[in-house]
């Protein structure tokens, strides 16, 4: 049901681009859910209107890695016009200026009302495995050394934090306590 779109966890912030076809206007909201599928991620719903001049690019909250496993659902309502009553909705996931992939809902409205509503576009965001992520970084002209350095530094911080007693892992708090003359 949900379309899986893979992204680079080491890449830039993820964003969405929402579009309506058939030259029509309308409105959309994006619901972001955690990996359980029902915990709503603030600040969703986010959204806007399909109208002349609107770009409708919305950044997703947090870093790219924060969005691993999350679901994005587009809720949209657009005008339909006689005689075809056709509609087309698109949601693209964008990272570092490139469209990673997109999901669409197109067809002909069978009802008699002036609008068509859609809740069919659901995207499941999955981070690429580390090797694929590094390859992606390389393809974006970032050196492998930078990636390895970042990963090594992250591991070092985690190891030191685990080895130290709890109080030592909060140097800022200790420093503040000393300044005020308190015992720690």
């Amino acid at each position: 049901m949900a379309k899986t779109i893979m992204f680079n966890p080491l890449g830039g912030v993820l964003s969405t681009r929402s579009e309506a076809g058939q030259g029509t206007s309308g409105s959309y909201r994006l619901m972001i859910f955690e990996r359980d599928g029902f915990t709503i991620v603030p600040p969703s719903p986010i959204g806007g209107q399909f109208k002349a001049g609107a770009t409708n690019v919305d950044p997703l909250p947090g870093t790219a890695m924060h969005n691993d496993g999350r679901f994005i659902q587009m809720l949209a309502s657009v005008g339909v016009f006689e005689p075809e009553r056709a509609y087309a909705l698109h949601l693209a996931i964008v990272q570092d200026g490139h469209d990673l992939d997109h999901e669409d809902d197109t067809g002909t409205d069978e009802g008699g009302g002036p609008t068509h509503e859609s809740d069919k576009i659901i995207v499941h965001l999955i981070a690429k495995p580390p090797q694929a992520a590094m390859n992606a970084r390389n393809s974006n002209s970032v050196s492998l050394l930078d990636v390895l350095k970042a990963e090594a530094l992250e591991k070092l911080v985690e190891t030191v934090a685990a080895a130290l007693p709890p109080a030592a892992s909060a140097p800022a708090a200790k420093k503040t306590a000393k300044k005020t003359g308190g015992n720690s």
């Binding site: 859910f33 029902f38 209107q49 016009f81 698109h90 008699g112 002036p114």
Partner: protein, 363 residues
């Protein structure tokens, strides 16, 4: 518009028949166009008009894929030309439609309003010919195009904002019930959702009414300019061999709106064609033409009409002077009535028309 000699009979059959017509009307039939469409306005699908094909059987594809699919299903394995096929579409929307933004539509609206119609028709007899017609319709000026009307778009966005916010409310209720996105709720969960949504008392009817009002009231006497050209041919068999030219036809409608209460419409049709009933013989092509001038006064709810019509060419000339009116009793029912004098050659007669139109709810 059918004319009944001094008859003002309104029957249940008429009501039922007109209900079907009303349901098939499109957005642009608001106001005076309702009155003129039947006879002298540029036809929605001129190719169908040229072959006298039933418009209810028309296909309206929304993509190249759907067009080829419908053509393939109409053409069986022994025939090249389908026995009965009618299609009408905007080539621009067919090619670009799925990715066409509102901005792009505004920039080239004349192109996207241009529509192509194709129709084929073959009789059942052994000597019956396969008739083919193709026509292009150009809408050069249409202030009633809803896609580009600021007032309509403003009302539409208010409605769509309301609708998506209602959908968000439902999504939030589902989330509170721990129903994963995209998963259908159980029967018990659905009951809870329905009850919660009912408690919100979401009502979009006032916004829909505002949208309908914006569509109709503002546009009944807008400026319009439509024209269409069509060509017709036929072949003795379905493969298209020994095909022949059977004629051309053209239509023109120009309307000038004088706000707030007047509209002047000019309509013309010209044709140089064989009779459609001429299937086996080679009778000569004949010219014919119609012209009409109509003046409307009033509003979208009620209006009066004065018109003059003329038909000529290689046939008995006809003239008509007519006056009438249109009254909307409600959103469901409106009435047309007219009376005039018709000359056919040297013979004249009094003619009248009375129609009760029923617009089914939700159409």
């Amino acid at each position: 518009m059918r004319r009944y000699q001094m008859s003002l009979a309104v029957s249940a059959a008429l009501l039922v028949g007109l209900a079907t017509n009303a349901a098939a009307q499109d957005d642009k039939t608001a106001g005076s166009a309702k009155f003129t469409k039947a006879d002298y306005a540029v036809p929605d699908a001129p190719a169908l008009k040229m072959l006298d094909v039933d418009a209810s059987k028309i296909l309206r594809p929304t993509s190249v894929k759907s067009l080829t699919a419908s053509l393939a299903s109409a053409t069986d394995y022994v025939s090249f030309i389908p026995k009965a096929f009618a299609v009408e579409f905007s080539p621009g929307l067919l090619i670009d439609g799925e990715n066409l933004s509102a901005s792009d539509y505004e920039k080239r609206s004349n192109w996207y309003r241009t529509r192509l119609s194709l129709a084929t028709k073959r009789g059942d007899g052994a000597s019956a010919r396969t008739n083919i017609a193709a026509a292009l319709r150009f809408t050069l000026q249409d202030k009633s195009d809803l896609r580009t009307d600021p007032d309509y778009i403003r009302n539409l966005l208010a409605l769509t904002d309301f609708k998506v916010d209602s959908m968000v409310a439902v999504a939030q209720i589902k989330a509170a019930e721990r129903i994963p996105v995209g998963q259908a709720p159980t029967e018990a969960q659905q009951k809870k959702i329905t009850a919660a949504v009912a408690a919100l008392k979401l009502d979009s009817k006032p916004l829909i009414q505002a949208l309908k009002h914006a569509k109709e009231e503002e546009h009944w006497n807008d400026d319009v300019a439509d024209m269409a050209f069509g060509v017709r041919g036929s072949s003795p068999d379905s493969t298209g061999k020994a095909s022949r030219f059977d004629g051309v036809a053209g239509w023109l409608t120009k309307g000038w709106g004088f706000r707030p209460n007047f509209q002047l419409l000019f309509g013309a049709r010209g044709a140089y064609e064989r009779l459609l009933s001429d299937t086996a013989t080679k009778n000569a092509l004949r010219g014919s033409g119609d012209g009409i001038v109509q003046l409307y006064m009033g509003s979208n709810q009620y209006k009066v009409l004065a018109e003059a019509q003329a038909t000529g060419g290689e046939m008995i000339p006809k003239w008509l002077l007519n006056a009438g009116g249109e009254l909307h009793l409600s959103a469901l029912i409106w009435i047309n009535a007219s009376a005039g004098y018709n000359w056919e050659g040297s013979k004249g007669k009094f003619v009248s028309s009375f129609k009760v139109n029923f617009n089914p709810p939700g159409s």
